[in-house]
Subunit: 140 residues, 2 copies
């Protein structure tokens, strides 16, 4: 979600403007692929996806909390009648952004919801906020 | 998610680079605020949010399906053992993107999860892919 993480620094957002190809950006706090499953299935079915690319970035807000700590802090602001809705939220805390890219690639490989071609072609990157460089993260 | 919808055409993504203010972008297919509730609560708690802005765009992919039609089409590609996971997905089909901005503002006003200041200050826009102009959509 962070505007300092600009994927247009390493991919062209209109890769094939002549052919109508576009880079769709699903962005959420932490960049977790779990929260983009609807987007991936929807876009692939309606328009066809060629490739899934997972990009997380350094200095990410998801490093600043634990799941339990954030859940309890959010509850403090909300009437207890609605705490069950807060309990359902997967907050996606991270402790290492390179590891979280790997975890997302592993999650993608394991999910039965996404077709094999997209799993096998998927790539992961860690975008460095300081340098503007993206490092590819590969599974062993 | 569509790169043709560039919010940097009408807001500065680093509104206060001297003060550290940033415009965070939560992007999902259809731009529906329901799918951004985690992002809003998380960012507001960890960093403080000043304002929520809902932006949908013309020629949106969410106009190209019905919820039932997309659900059934996605199921065709997936082993029936996992159809229950597909049934849980809210596909967020739209039929009118100005109406969907209004619907999101109404949803925001009604949710007990977000604090009143953010609800009262929230603004909605429909971004026109053809002209690059954003029209503000207001509740009555």
């Amino acid at each position: 979600m962070d505007p300092r993480c600009s994927i247009d620094k390493f991919v062209s957002l209109n890769v094939g403007s002549k052919t109508g190809e576009l880079v769709m950006q699903s962005r959420n706090a932490g960049g977790n692929i779990r929260f983009a499953i609807r987007d991936i299935l929807l876009i692939d079915r309606q328009f066809g996806l060629d490739e899934v690319v997972v990009v997380h970035h350094t200095d990410c807000g998801s490093l600043t909390f634990t799941n339990k700590g954030l859940r309890d802090a959010v509850k403090e602001r909300i009437d207890s009648a609605h705490w069950d809705e807060v309990d359902k939220i997967d907050w996606g805390a991270n402790t290492d952004m390179a590891a979280s890219v790997k975890g997302d690639l592993e999650w993608l490989r394991a999910t039965p919801l996404i077709r094999d071609e997209l799993k096998l072609n998927a790539r992961g990157f860690l975008f460095d906020i300081q340098t503007g460089e993206a490092e590819e993260i590969k599974l062993a």
